[in-house]
Every structure is written in structure tokens, then in C-alpha cells.
Symmetry: C3
Amino acid sequence: MDSLWVVICACLVFFMHAGFALVESGFCRRKNAVMVLLKNVGVLSVSSLVFYAVGYGLMFGEGNAFIGLSQLFPSGGSEVSGLPIYVFLFFQLVFAATAATIVSGAVAERARLGTFMAFTVLTTALIYPIVGHWVWGGGWLSETGFHDFAGSTVVHAVGGALALTGAVLIGPRLGRYGKDARVMPAHNIPLAALGVLILWLGWFGFNGGSTLSADAEGIAPVILVTNLSAAAGFVAALMHSRMRSGGLDLSMALNGALAGLVGITAGADVIAPGEAMIVGVISGVVVVEGVMLLDRMKIDDPVGAISVHLICGVVGTLAVGVFASGAETSGLLHGGGFGLLGTQALGAGAAVGFALATGGAAWLALKQLPGGIRVPEQHEVEGLDLAECGVEAYAAGKSGVAEPEAPTEAALPMVLADEVAS
Amino acid sequence: MDSLWVVICACLVFFMHAGFALVESGFCRRKNAVMVLLKNVGVLSVSSLVFYAVGYGLMFGEGNAFIGLSQLFPSGGSEVSGLPIYVFLFFQLVFAATAATIVSGAVAERARLGTFMAFTVLTTALIYPIVGHWVWGGGWLSETGFHDFAGSTVVHAVGGALALTGAVLIGPRLGRYGKDARVMPAHNIPLAALGVLILWLGWFGFNGGSTLSADAEGIAPVILVTNLSAAAGFVAALMHSRMRSGGLDLSMALNGALAGLVGITAGADVIAPGEAMIVGVISGVVVVEGVMLLDRMKIDDPVGAISVHLICGVVGTLAVGVFASGAETSGLLHGGGFGLLGTQALGAGAAVGFALATGGAAWLALKQLPGGIRVPEQHEVEGLDLAECGVEAYAAGKSGVAEPEAPTEAALPMVLADEVAS
Amino acid sequence: MDSLWVVICACLVFFMHAGFALVESGFCRRKNAVMVLLKNVGVLSVSSLVFYAVGYGLMFGEGNAFIGLSQLFPSGGSEVSGLPIYVFLFFQLVFAATAATIVSGAVAERARLGTFMAFTVLTTALIYPIVGHWVWGGGWLSETGFHDFAGSTVVHAVGGALALTGAVLIGPRLGRYGKDARVMPAHNIPLAALGVLILWLGWFGFNGGSTLSADAEGIAPVILVTNLSAAAGFVAALMHSRMRSGGLDLSMALNGALAGLVGITAGADVIAPGEAMIVGVISGVVVVEGVMLLDRMKIDDPVGAISVHLICGVVGTLAVGVFASGAETSGLLHGGGFGLLGTQALGAGAAVGFALATGGAAWLALKQLPGGIRVPEQHEVEGLDLAECGVEAYAAGKSGVAEPEAPTEAALPMVLADEVAS
């Protein structure tokens, strides 16, 4: 029964990738929507293959305090945490893909496909599994009392830190900052809103499945606080952004819901409903400030991924130290020598630091490849969909017209692909 | 295991809110799509917080025949109906949000956000919990033999009646009736169709979870009849609307599927598959007639919520009295002094009457506030998205163009928000 | 618990119909999107009613080696395969609807609604149940050692073969081939991508539920290999189509993911993870070649359904013979006199042959009806949405404009419906 629950939760987490795909393509400009989708489904696919082949072994294999070193291409038959290995593996696989996909939003509309996919391979084969090993695979952080229930740090802060390295090193979109600075509005807000609701749904699996057991007494509060924190995050971000800018900003409020979800993820098993609402409110306010701060720093993140996942991931990790004092007193959690809050800060700092260092190094290395990490300027101006995919997201055919606007086959736009990808 | 099933069903019901968001935004005009989404996610968020804090206690707390009076901000540890309280609470919470969100479709495109959200607070804190207490919380209707398995009356007729009060008291959209009367066509039918399929899916949780147990013998017929009634409703509404207007009306047929779902909800546990198809056909025909009737009465309901939820909710409640005679004979149901059909009519009448009275009073009270319950006329003409949210649902960026149409930051439309909301 | 798992999986398979609806409408032209959706939800509805009434009995009723002959309008109380009959029936019902809906994509944009729905009735009442009886209902193929775990042949190859008969006999869309041949680009790629992700999710239920038990040891590898094959199919189709045409073709890659899913379906219970990736790669390459081949043969399939479901369904069926030699050696599978691969070829050949013959005959018979199987040319040029449904998928209302483009009620386009449908 435990396995059944975890499989169902893994399916919900899998579905989060549809959510990410919609949020990221919806928040981007129309001319790049196809490429965003290609990257998102590509991340899901590549992560699945790479994490199965390599990442799982480095995260959960026998090894040392830093890294696991066995279980490449794992085969069935054994058990992990009381679950058949393939159940546990599939659940972990969709988590790994989540960490990797966070990056794609922050570098959307200008990252080169080939190098981005190479970065995804590095993320799911190495960077994420190593941090994961520290916390969940028996590594050094797991012995300090550091508590990250479902991955505010391991998944979200790490993914968000990698996103930050990408956004900084690839640079902002053309025309986003500087003297002709333009807002680049979301091209399809209904899709983005649907994406957020799918993510919210998937999070019940993300947090609920992290119990790794079907014990209802354990699952029920996790699900409830997850929902309350998201709800509070939505309301708080809506009201706080209203206060800051005077308008009703749905995009910001949707990011507030995601912020509430990220924020509750580290402590969903130890934080009570009333406190979860506070965590949601804090996350909702912080995400708004984070987006504005990054914007002032001219770090261009088309979907707000850095603020949602990195900043609120750290907030959520620290929230365990602040709000779970009951659990600390009762001996459920113990912070070791630094106290619980200090240990949480230590763990988040180590994970984020490692991700910033390795992610930065990876982008810098990839930059040396022919073609680099950024699309050619003329592709960016034209839009990646026409320039690299040869299509538009929404073909222009009109009702009642015999489609004179569609090209004949001979005139089909041929993609000159040499500068596109690996 | 019971808990697991109910949690999974609650997640499905949660997902219905994505369905409502898509149906309502898809059926509305393009210029208001963002505001519709803002209201829908807002209802979900506010309902979650308010029902947890207050509504649950008034619905299920110890009290009298009319209202519960304990269990505000419930905490864990106890059991309800054999489930951990947080399982039961989360399932009830997503139901409460469903009742509240029904209203938003009927008042879409012209209700003022602030007062609408205040109405949502009243709905989930007071109106819905009180009716819920009568039927499911041990109140007076629960002792009469009234049978409302999953809420044709408690959720749908009550939500639909509240929607009716809003549609009437806020009034029709500008230009909808009168000498220049215009049809206001759905702006995104694919989204609306997806929304209906998500609702259909979610209904398996809505009805299937209402067994509150994982007994497969009990769940299986519930799921099957739910599907058959929806299918029959779709076909019946398509054919009946064809007969009435000569065209193939997908929107009407989609509402027919929803009508079939609402219609089977009260008796999904006692109605056989063959009879479920009849219930679906009746609901599908009735919803078409209902939409046409409301239109003749110049009650403007952009999405058909009143016909689907109020009218078919009542139809479904009465259907128990008509089709569940087997269950009555066998002693599973007993209608008390009025007979089963009479008791069903009594329960539906009492719930709808209470919702009409309280909902009407609430809108009238909110109308006295500065700003009232309706957006300014110039906002309605311009569209709420640009006027109040400062964005369009689908930004106009074109492929192959360096986006000259996007405003520079200095020229961003600043929202004059004083008349907008709370 | 087995029942619970199967019900949950059935809900996931149900949700695949939302996936099909989005893929098919997204890949079609804007002017036909509403009609595609109408057909898809219509297929789901009609299949539900017809398979409950007739199809189930012909598939699983007592009968002979060719067809079942009892259990029309089945009622509850009995058990099948250890499950309450309604559980088993609902799971089978959503499978039947899947086979039927595969056809709609291939004949989209020009099939006449009335005759198409008649074909759907034949499919779910007769053609699919007969083949299903052969393999899963105790018929002649079930005794040969033929292995089709979740339906690469029974559902996908049969559905794809019926799709082929339709595409050939109805003929290509106007202007698709010939001297003014035009590519007819997808009108909404984000919707189609979402559809594919929903199908991918649903497939975990499609394959995972086909164990008909909640045994985690059995489910876990099924889910894992399903995911790996889809991922490998996506990557392989993206790279292979790039090699063939020089561009990045997201639509083709999405079909590659579906191809990987179809390909693994026959052997998801006996194929190991490493081999599943090979099956995915083969399917991803084959689907690209299949689409190009059909195009050279001037068989017009707007969504690629024939290549995905028929060709990769056969590939997947044969893959059992190639990759499951371990299972054959261990006695889990036995191919009888022809060897396993020969038996797989025999089964796939018999099923596809039967579907081609009966499907072809059915379209030819329907062609004799007044109105035939194809829409009038002027409807096709104008677009079925305006011509037959009286609406556009995306009504043109603009922000900031008082909608002068919307017709007054008096001028509403009246559908001349005599040639439309039954």
C-alpha cells in the first residue's frame, strides 16, 4: 500500500512537468513559445534517461559522505526505504527532473538548446544527485539534524541557484534593460494560470509522497498545510504587489501561490496549519520583493523562477528552524551543535553554494564550445520558433479564408540549423 | 486505506478548480479573461483559508439543528467518520470552494473583485456551512430521510442559487440585452472544453470520495453511473439544442455533460446504470431549456452556471425520489412522513430558499459599500484586464518583429486602482 | 485494494481523452478546432454509452472463440478477474473509447460528424470488442501465447488501422496534395504539447492498471519502463527528424513520445528498463519514417495518428518477441508453434487485417448514405466551425473596443444544417 501511494504521488509529480511547461511558455513571448515547450519536454525526457542511468546511483548508491558510487542502471528486485526499488527510483526520478526544469524558465527565450540540454545532463547526472546524497542519500548533511522534508533546499533552492547562474551568465533578453528597456508581457496568461493550478495539484504528490508511506495520520496534515500555504501565498502576493505597484497583478499572485508551496516544502511534516498560513504569507511577500530586487539588479528571469525557487526555497528551509520548535522540543527534530535554525542555514548555504559554484563553472565551460550558450542575435529578434523550429506556436489560418497565408511546400521556411544546437 | 482514497479524491476535486477556471475564462470575452482567472484562483485561496478557520466548525462542529458551534481552526489528532480529521477536513474544504466558485461564472465580466471576494468569504464561512450542517453535519435535514449523496443540493443547488442572486442583483453585461443586444461569444472554446473534461475527471473524486471509504463494491457503481450520466447529458444537450436552434452547439453540449454530472450527484450511490443514463438525458435537456429560459428572462449568466448547478442540482435531488424507489423499498432510504420524493423536494427547497435569501441579502448589503458590487462602466467597456489588471490575456507580440507594439517601461499603463477593490 | 488501484488507473485513462482532444485540436487548423473538440468529447460520450450497453458483452461475455454473446447492459454484483464487475467494466470502457478516438485525429477537418459518430458506434459496439475478445476475452488468440499486455495491438494497432481506412476512404484535405500542395500547420502547439503530457500521464494508468492488481512489485517496473520508453521516443524522434529535415520539429518529437508509449504497451510487464529505452528509440525513429511515408503516399493524417498508433502498435507487439526472450526462456511467455515472435506477428496481423476489412467496409457502407462521409466542399473551405457549429474557436473580441465585430442577435449566422448530420 505504501508503494501504491508513492506511485500515485510520483504520477502527480510527473504531471508537474505539464505545469512547468505551461507556466514557462505562457509567461514568455509568443515568438518563443514552441522552443520553451521543446525545452521543457526535452528536460523531462533527458532527465528521465540520465537520472535512471547515472544520477540515481550517485544519489542513493553506497559511497561516502559526499557522493554515492554504485547502482548505475539499477535493476529491480531490491528494496529501498521499504519500497520496491523501482517505485522509489521513479519517485526520485520525477524529483530530479523538477530540479532540472526550474532552470529552463529563467534562461528562456535566449538560451541555446544544445548547451542547455548539456547543462540538464550535468544537473541530473551530477549536481542534483550530489546535493541529494548529502541530505537524503546518507551523506554528511543527513547527520547534522538538517531537515528538508520534501526538498525546499534539495530540489527548489538548488534548481533556483542553477537558474540564477544561467540567467546571469547568459545575460538578459535583448531590449529588456538599458535605454529602451521594455516590459516583455506574458503571451498567454490562461495557460500560465492553468500551469500553476497543475503545479499546485502536483505538489500534493510532491509533499504527500515524501512520507514514503501510506500512513494517513502522516499524510493528512502534509496535504492540508501544503494547501493552506499556497492559498496564503496567493493572497499575500496579490495584496503586497498591489501595495507596491497599485495594480492587480495575477502573474505575481500566481508566483505567490508557488512561493507558498516552495516555502512549506521543507517542513510540511512538522509545521501546523496555522503556522503554514504564516509561512505562506511570508513566502508570498518575499517572492514579490525578490522579483523586484532581481529586476533592479538587471537579472532577467522571464518567469520569476529564481525568486520562487531559490529565495523561497531558502525561506522555507529556515522556516523549519523558526516554526518547528515544537518538533524540536519533542525530540522529533534536533539541530545538533548549531541549533535547529543554524543547522538549517548551514544546509541551505552549503547546497546553494555548491549549486552556484558548479552551475557557474558548467555554464562557463559550455560557453567555450562553438556556438556558446546563447542563441544568435538575429534568432532572438526573429523569435526562436520561426528561426529554429520553423513554425509559429499559433499558425495564422483564419476562418472563412482558403488560407492564402500558408506557404506552398516549395517555399517552406528551411531552417539553417548549423548554429542551432549540438 | 479509506483515508488514502479520500485524499486522492480530494486531490481530484481540487483539480476541478482548474476546470472551473478554464470553463469560466474560456466562455468569457477575451478582454476579461485575466480577471476571471484571478477571481477563480482567488476563490480557491480565500475559501481554503476561511473554511479551515471558520466554515468547517460551523458545518461539522457540535451545535444545534441549525448550525455547528465548535471546531474553529481545528487541530489534528481526532477522527471524523472513521477518518483522521485533516483528511475529512481537506475533502470538505475543496467541496466548500466548489460551492463558492460556482458563483464566479455567473457574475463574470462585471462583478467588482473586492465585493465578490467578500461574498466568497460569506459563502464559505457561513452560508454553505449552515446548509451543509443541516444535511451532512447532523442538522435538521439529516433526520428527515433527505438523501444528497455528494451534494446536488448542498454544493450545486446552493452554489447555483447564490449565483442567481448575484446575476440578478449585479445585472446583465452592458449591451447583452436591450435594443442593441449582442451575443457575446466564448473567446477560447478549446480551453473551455479542456475545463469540462477536467471537471468530468474531478467528479470521479467528488462522487467517488463521498463514500468516505475505500470499499470497492461501493465505489465502483458510483464511478460508473457518474460517467454514464455525463455521457448521456452531453449527447442529449447536443441533440436537444440542435432541435431547438438548428446548429451544433458545443458549448451547450459541454454544459450538458456538466448537467449530467450535477444531476447524478445526489443519487450516485443508489441509482443504477440504466437509470443514470435517463438522469443524464433529462439533465441534458433541462440545462438547454434552462439556459434559454434565463436568457428570455434577461438574467445574464455568461457560462450557464445557474442552469447547470441550480436547476440540474434540483433535478438531481428530485431524481433520487423518482429513481431510487428500489433503495426505498429495501429500506436503504426512507423518506419519512412526506415520502421520499416529498422529502427530497423539501430539502432542496429549504436549501435553495435559504441560499436565495442569504445571498440576496449579502449582495444588497455589499451594494451599500462605496464602489458597490459592479465595476465602473468604463472598465467594463475597456475590459477588466487592461483596466484593472494592466495586462491583456494574450499579449500581442508577433513573430519576426522586434515587438514595437510593446510599451516602454515609462509608458506602462498605470492602473488607477482606487475604485477597484477592498 | 486491487480495485482501488484499477479505479484510479481508469481515471487516468479517462483523462487521456482530454489529451487526445488537445492534441487533435491543437494540431488541426484554427477553423476546425471546435468541430474536432465536438468529435472528441462526442466519441468519449457515445463510446461510454455503447460499450456499456453492447461492447462489453461482446468482448467479455460468454461466447465462442470469435465473439462474446452475453452480458449486455451488465448489472453489478459479480466479479471479473478478482474485481467487482463495475470496476473492471469502467476500466475496459475507457480503453474502448481510446481505440475509438484514435480514428478522429486521422479523419479530422473533413469527416462528416453524423457518419463519423456512426462509425464510432460500430467501433465500440463491434469491431474493437471482437478483437478484444480474441485476445483478452478468452478468444482464439488468447490460446496461442500471443502477448499484448496493455494493448499495443488490441487498442492502438486496431484504432490506427481503423484510422487508416478512414483517411484513405475519406481522402486528403482540400489543397493538401496536388499542384498547389500546402503544409497545413498546427494552429495551437502549446495545447498539443499539453495534450501529449496528459497522454503520457494517462499512460501510467493505461499500462499500470493493466496489471489488474495493486501488487507493487508488478506495477513499479511497468511504470518505469513506460516512462523511459516515452522519454527515449521523444529524444529519438527529435534527433531523427532533425537529421531528415534539418529543423527542430517539436510536433514530431511529441509524436515520438507517443510512439514510445505505444511501443512499450504490449510488453511493459516483461521488458527491462534498458531494453525499454531501445524500444523507445526504435519507435521514435519509426514514427518519423512512418509520417514521411504516409505523406509520400498522399495519405493525409493531420495528427500522425496512423504512424503513432498503427505502425508503432505493430512495432511494440513485435518488440515483445524480440526483447522478452528472457521471459520466454523462463516460461512466463510461450509463443506456441510459431515461436514467440511468429505468434506476435500472427496476432498483430490478424487484428490489423480484421480492422482494415471491417473498417473499410463500414466506411464504404456509410458512404452510400445521403450526405456521405465527407463534409461539403464549401464547409471545408469555410471551416467547419463557422459552417457547422456557427462559432469560431477564438472569438475576435479585442480589449479596449466595444466589440463592434460581434453580430447583433438578428444577424447571427444561422446554420443550414440539413447536410450536416444524422
